[in-house]
């Protein structure tokens, strides 16, 4: 007898993979939550001991400590949910309800990850607290003496004004100077070749030079030349010059990338309508490029802001220099922490602004 199936198509069927119930993972999350609960209590106990050793007693502090100890209780909620879903998944598997098992299993995983995420953050926080109070609050004493921060704040804020003035001037100058350099690099035709060459050399050179060296050379060097003009300039102006030269190169690169990012077909369309080179730049290319280059320009601006702290190498009394003077009098770095806080305070809003601009641009791009 012949096999009758030889010319019949076999129906192929894939065996469905069994979903995992996530029970082990849920259990691990719950264990971790309980361990962290204990760890938090222990760390807060250490804090309490350090406080009593230093004769620090305050009801509000105790209250805060107790609150922190209770904090990880919140972890029990997602961990419990995870375990519950894992149980449901297991039961569904036993009754061979694969779809329900998958749904509950996925839920169990999500809640377990949720637990892990918050547990991780809490762990980092506890480590930081331990670091802070280690060696009888050495870290806290060195960097965060509230009294010293408060005392030095006025002086440092005044010196910080120097940083602000320097970066405002250097910012405006480098924005303008950068555009000049970028346009010089993009000049068309053979006659402009020497100009393009110089502009390229300039950007190459200043992109590779560390700003601290430029500040040093210009701040110390130019007055040494004895040329009247430079000798009489205040140090702050030389710092502005140095930062403008350095960041002008960065800005120029951003402008150039922005202008070149406009598709050649836009040039062709504009020129074919009779618009001149500069009309095309002005009406078609620059307006489209600007949206794209504002975020990177702002990033450069933020970078320059931070580099104003380098001007201390030539003796400008900026916030950092002032803080160092105070710090060496106090034998304590809290004044420098003040400077750090000031820089953070002025930079964060700008960083957020850049993020928002980038996001807005992306949204427009997606839509278009």
């Amino acid at each position: 007898m012949r096999e009758p199936s030889s010319n019949r198509k076999e129906v192929r069927r894939r065996n469905p993979t069994l979903p995992r119930d996530g029970f082990g993972f849920a259990l691990a999350a719950l264990t971790l939550a309980i361990l962290l609960l204990l760890a938090t209590a222990w760390v807060m106990w250490q804090v309490k001991q350090v406080m009593s050793a230093n004769q620090f007693r305050a009801l509000w502090a105790d209250f805060v400590l107790v609150l922190v100890v209770l904090l990880p209780l919140g972890l029990l909620f997602p961990a419990g949910r995870s375990l519950g879903q894992a149980g449901a998944a297991r039961r569904a598997l036993q009754s061979e309800n694969l779809i329900a098992a998958r749904v509950h299993g996925a839920e169990a995983l999500t809640w377990a990850w949720f637990t892990l995420g918050y547990a991780g953050a809490l762990l980092l926080f506890l480590l930081f607290v331990l670091f802070f109070i280690a060696n009888n609050v050495a870290v806290g004493r060195t960097f965060f003496q509230l009294e010293l921060i408060a005392n030095s704040f006025g002086l440092i804020l005044k010196a910080f004004w120097v940083n602000v003035v320097i970066f405002l001037f250097a910012g405006v100058f480098s924005l303008v100077w950068g555009l000049v350099v970028a346009v010089a690099k993009l000049l068309p035709g053979k006659p402009a070749q020497p100009i393009r060459f110089i502009a390229t050399f300039y950007t190459d050179a200043f992109l590779s030079l560390p700003s601290i060296i430029v500040i040093y050379l210009i701040g110390f060097g130019l007055p040494l030349t004895g040329i009247g003009f430079f000798r009489n300039l205040p140090l702050e102006a030389l710092a502005v010059l140095a930062l403008t030269l350095t960041y002008g190169a960065y800005m120029a690169e951003v402008y150039r990338a922005g202008l070149e990012s406009i598709h050649p077909s836009q040039w062709a369309a504009a020129r074919s309508l009779g618009l001149s080179y500069s009309q095309t730049l002005r009406f078609v290319v620059i307006p489209q490029a600007v949206r794209r280059i504002i975020p990177p320009l702002l990033n450069n601006f933020i970078g320059m802001q931070k580099d104003t702290a380098l001007v201390n190498v030539v003796g400008v009394i900026d916030a950092f220099n002032q803080a160092r003077i105070i710090a060496s009098n106090d034998f304590n770095l809290s004044a420098v922490t003040t400077v750090a806080i000031l820089f953070i305070l002025i930079t964060i809003p700008q960083t957020r602004l850049v993020d928002r601009l980038v996001e807005r641009d992306r949204a427009r791009f997606r839509q278009g």
Partner: protein
């Protein structure tokens, strides 16, 4: 003397000789269709006529006036010769109205109000007056391409170059663009169009030029080119078009 004379034009991109001594004449009110395989230099020829590409040999004359070589005022030339591209190339940051009025106000120094009035009249003609304040990305491909044509027309060119302007369009949007071209042809607009729309070429062309390897290989009235092509290359090209069901 013809309206447009392309004489022995040579165009090279580096070592790649794209136009190899090309000759072409166009009379006023003629519609000339350029056909030929992809890469044969149709776009390049149109871009040379508009001064978007420099040529390495020969010359091009418009109304007897040399429009290639040193000393030519390209911006002035481009007021008389408009070009429309396959990819529309509208300015995405400007409204439809601004797209159309930019060149008349900046190049012809037409007062803003007058330019807008003219632009609106042109938009009314193509039925897109209600889109005047819209941005290009809010328009369909066919609408964008018609706006691009009208943008070129706003400069009142003597000669309009159209480079495969329906190739990037969805099939159902092609006819609205071709209808506009048909109207322009009837009004006597002088046009050179590179196209793969053989049916349309057959219908409106005064002359069809088959380009091959950088020269005009065969030219003649549409009936002759499409029905009795003389050269083997032309026959092969048309056979492949028929095979693809496009003729």
């Amino acid at each position: 003397m013809s309206f447009l004379e392309v004489k022995n034009v040579v165009k090279r991109f580096g070592a790649n000789e794209v136009l190899r001594g090309l000759n072409l004449t166009v009379e006023e009110h003629q519609v000339v269709c350029l056909i030929g395989p992809s890469g044969c230099g149709k776009s390049t020829l149109l871009r040379c006529v508009n001064g978007l590409e420099e040529i390495q040999g020969g010359e091009i004359r418009l109304h007897g006036d040399r429009i290639t070589g040193p000393g030519v005022d390209l911006n002035a030339l481009r007021r008389d010769v408009g070009i429309v591209f396959q990819s529309f190339n509208l300015f995405p940051h400007m409204t439809v109205l601004q797209n159309i009025t930019l060149a008349p106000t900046q190049v012809l120094r037409m007062p803003e109000a007058e330019a807008q009035e003219k632009a609106l009249a042109l938009l009314r003609r193509i039925g897109l007056e209600h889109k005047a304040r819209a941005y290009p990305d809010q328009l369909s491909g066919g609408q964008q391409q018609r706006v691009a044509i009208v943008r070129a027309l706003a400069m009142e060119p003597m000669l309009l170059l159209l480079d495969e302007i329906t190739s990037a369009l969805d099939p159902e949007l092609v006819s609205e663009v071709l209808n506009l071209l048909r109207e322009l042809a009837q009004e006597g607009m002088t046009m050179i169009l590179a196209t793969h729309e053989m049916g349309f070429a057959r219908e409106v062309a005064s002359k069809v030029c088959f380009m091959y390897e950088g020269v005009v290989h065969e030219e003649g009235p549409p009936e002759q080119i499409f029905s009795q092509p003389q050269h083997e290359r032309t026959q092969q090209f048309l056979a492949s078009i028929i095979e693809a069901g496009r003729l």
